[in-house]
C-alpha cells in the first residue's frame, strides 16, 4: 500500500534540530560513567584487584631486575673491575703470616696485566697511644688510639691514593726505615693536623715520627683513611712486622682473570694454594643469573595476573550489563544511540583498568623500594614504566570491556525496557 503523497510538516522551530541527532558530550560521558562506577564501589574495588596485582607484578619485576642489574653494573665500575687482593688463606695461622714475601711488589709488577701493586699490613704497636707534639691545650684530646698500617712504596698507586698535603713515602724511606708517617684524613683530623709544611711530629708510644703527607682519598682499602701509615721497612724494624698481610693489585682492564691465575704462583711458587685471591666476579655470570631467576618467573606471574584481571573486568562488566539492562533501555528511550551505550561501558571498564594500573604501579614501586631497602640496594626504575603502567591497565580494561559493551549496544530498547526495572 503506497501512499500517493505524504505531506511532511516540519515545525519551523529554532530550538529543535530538524534532523534528529543525539549527542553525548565527553563531559556527560565521563560523568555518567563515573556515576555508574561509583554506584558499586565495592564491586569496582574487587574487580580492579586483578589488574592491580598484574600491573604491580609487572612493574616490580621490571624495576627489580633493573635495580639488581644496575647493582651489578655498579660493582663493575672501572675501579672494582681492576681490583685484585691477595691474602694468606686463613689456616695454619703461624705459617699463613709468612706466605707473602717482602718482595711481593716486585714479583707482582713483573706480571703482565698488573698496572700497580703493593703490600699492606696492620702493625701491632702493642697498644701504644699516638699523640701529636704536646701543646698546652688542657681541653684538647691529644692521646688517641689509631690503627697503624705499613705500606710498601707501590701501594699508593695500587690504591690510587691522592695527597692532600705533603708527599708519600718512597722506596728510600722504606729501605732506610725512616720514621716517617702518612695520615689518612680522619686520622689527621683526630690528631688536629691540617698541614705538613711545618714538619709536624707525631709520637707513637715514645717514638717520634715525622708526618710527611696527608691523604685525601683512596679508591681502594678505605681503612687507610682512618689510619697512620708508615713505610713497610720502618714497620719491620721498629715493630717487628713478620710479613706483608695482603698484596693489593691494580690490573689493566680486562686482565683480572689472568692476574688472578698468576699472582699466587708468582708470590708463592711452592704452595700457591696457601693464598686467597679476592677478585670481582665475572659480570656475565651474575647478570645472566639475575635475568634467568627473576625476570622469567615474575614477568610470567605479572602476565597471568593481568590476564586474570582482564577476565575479571570482562566478567564484571558483562554482569553489570545484564544487571543494568533496564538502565540501558531507559538511556535508549532518552535518546542514547548504540554507540553512546557502548561508549559508556567502554569508559567504565577502561577506567577500572586505569585505576588498577595506577594502584598497581604504586604498589610495584613500593615493592621495589622495599626489596631494595632490605638488600641495601639503590632502587632503580625507568620512570616510563611507572607512566606506562596505567596505560597498560587502561588497555586491559578497554579490551576486556569490548565484548560487554557490544552486548549492551546490541540490546533492543523494547526488550531492555521490559527486562529491567
Amino acid at each position: 500500500m503506497r501512499r500517493p503523497s505524504i505531506r511532511i510538516r516540519r515545525r519551523p522551530s529554532a530550538d529543535r534540530p530538524q534532523a534528529p541527532v543525539s549527542r553525548f558530550s565527553v563531559r556527560d560521558l565521563l560523568v555518567e560513567s563515573a556515576a555508574g562506577l561509583l554506584a558499586r564501589p565495592a564491586r569496582v574495588a574487587l574487580t580492579v584487584l586483578g589488574t592491580v596485582v598484574g600491573v604491580a607484578a609487572l612493574v616490580a619485576t621490571l624495576g627489580l631486575s633493573e635495580t639488581a642489574g644496575s647493582q651489578i653494573v655498579g660493582r663493575f665500575d672501572e675501579v672494582s673491575a681492576t681490583d685484585v687482593v691477595v691474602t694468606p688463606a686463613a689456616r695454619g695461622a703461624g705459617r699463613a703470616t709468612t706466605v707473602i714475601p717482602w718482595d711481593a711488589e716486585q714479583r707482582l709488577t713483573r706480571l703482565n696485566g698488573v698496572a700497580a701493586a703493593g703490600t699492606l699490613s696492620d702493625v701491632d704497636v702493642g697498644g701504644a697511644l699516638i699523640h701529636s707534639v704536646p701543646v698546652n691545650d688542657p681541653l684538647g684530646q691529644t692521646d688517641v688510639q689509631l690503627p697503624i698500617k705499613a705500606a710498601s712504596p707501590g701501594l699508593w698507586r695500587a690504591v690510587r691514593a691522592e695527597v692532600a698535603a705533603g708527599r708519600l713515602p718512597d722506596g728510600g724511606h722504606s729501605r732506610r726505615a725512616d720514621r716517617v708517617m702518612v695520615l689518612g684524613p680522619t686520622a689527621a683530623a683526630r690528631l688536629g693536623l691540617t698541614r705538613v709544611d711545618q714538619q709536624p711530629g707525631v709520637f707513637v708510644g715514645d717514638r717520634l715520627y715525622l708526618v710527611i703527607g696527608l691523604l685525601q682519598t683512596v679508591d681502594r682499602q678505605p681503612s687507610l683513611l682512618g689510619s697512620a701509615i708508615i713505610p713497610e721497612g720502618t714497620a719491620r724494624r721498629e715493630f717487628g712486622l713478620v710479613a706483608p698481610a695482603a698484596a693489593q693489585i691494580e690490573t689493566v682492564i680486562g686482565a683480572v682473570d689472568a692476574v688472578v691465575a698468576e699472582a699466587p704462583v708468582a708470590l708463592n711458587p711452592d704452595s700457591p694454594n696457601l693464598l686467597r685471591v679476592a677478585a670481582p666476579p665475572s659480570p656475565e655470570k651474575l647478570r645472566g643469573k639475575v635475568e634467568n631467576d627473576l625476570n622469567a618467573l615474575f614477568l610470567l606471574l605479572g602476565a597471568v595476573s593481568l590476564l586474570v584481571g582482564a577476565l575479571g573486568i570482562a566478567n564484571v562488566t558483562l554482569v553489570s550489563v545484564l544487571e543494568r539492562t533496564g538502565e540501558i533501555g531507559l538511556r535508549r528511550a532518552l535518546g542514547a544511540g548504540r554507540r553512546h551505550i557502548a561508549g559508556q561501558f567502554l569508559v567504565e571498564s577502561t577506567a577500572m583498568g586505569v585505576l588498577g594500573g595506577i594502584i598497581g604501579a604504586s604498589l610495584g614501586v613500593l615493592v621495589i623500594v622495599a626489596v631494595a631497602a632490605s638488600r641495601t640496594w639503590t632502587p632503580v626504575l625507568d620512570p616510563l614504566v611507572a607512566l606506562f603502567a596505567p596505560l597498560v591497565g587502561g588497555l586491559v580494561g578497554l579490551i576486556s570491556g569490548t565484548y560487554p559493551a557490544l552486548r549492551a549496544a546490541s540490546l533492543q530498547p523494547v526488550e531492555a525496557l521490559r527486562a529491567g526495572t
Binding site: 542514547a336 544511540g337 523494547v414 526495572t421
Partner: protein, 244 residues
Amino acid sequence: MNTVTEAVTESLRRPRWMLREPVVELKGLGLTYDSVPPVPALRDVDLVINRGDFVAVVGPSGSGKSTLLNVLGCLDQQTSGTYLIDGIDVAALSDRERAALRGQRIGFVFQTFHLLSHRSAVDNVMLAEVYLGVSRAGRRERALAALERVGLADRADFLPTRLSGGQRQRVAIARALMGPPSFLLCDEPTGNLDSANTASVLRLFEDLGEDGLTLVVVTHDESVAARAQREVRIVDGRLTETTR
C-alpha cells in the same frame, strides 16, 4: 475505513483537528511479527493526536496495546503504513536518528518508573538532557523546575528508594517533561501504584493536560482512561475511537 484516503478524509471531516497541529499521525499502520505463522499485531491503524490532546489507549491484554506503544515510542517499527511525529517520517530515519527523535520529542513514563536507584531525584531528571546535545549549563535548574512542576521540589536530593511509589512516578514524569518533548508516552503509569498514589498521578496528568501538554496513556485501567479527553480502544490489533 480500510484505505488511507478514507482515513485521511475521515480525519479531515473533523474540523477541530484542522485547527490544531497534529503531533502524531498514524496512517494505515500495520505491524506483523515475522514468525511462523506471521502474527499481525496491528492492522491498519489510523490515529491523529493533536497538540494538547489527552489520549487514553485501552484494550485487553494481547490486543496489540504494547505493540502500538512501542511503535509510538519509536522502539519498534511498523511493517506497513506511515508514522509521523511532528511531520517527520519515522520509517525514513536510521536507528541512531530514531534514538535522537525519542530523546527530543517523546517523554517516556514507564510502569516501573525506570529511575536509577543510586542517583538522586534531580540527577534522574537531569539524565533526560544527557543525550539531547543540550549544554550542561542550567541543566540542574531546568531539572529543578521540572520537579517543581510535579510538586517534588522539596525532594530533589532524595534517592528514589526514599520516595513513595507516587513520588517516584512523579520524578519519572518530571524527567519526561525535560526537553520539552512533543508528547508524553505513558505505559501503564499507575500500574504499580496504590489508589491514593494513582489519584495523585492522575491529577498531575490533568494539570499537565490543562497546560497544553500532549499525553498518550496506554492503560488497561478504565478509571485512568476515564480521565482522558479521548479514548481509543484496541481489539485484535484494530483501533477504534470511542466517541464521547
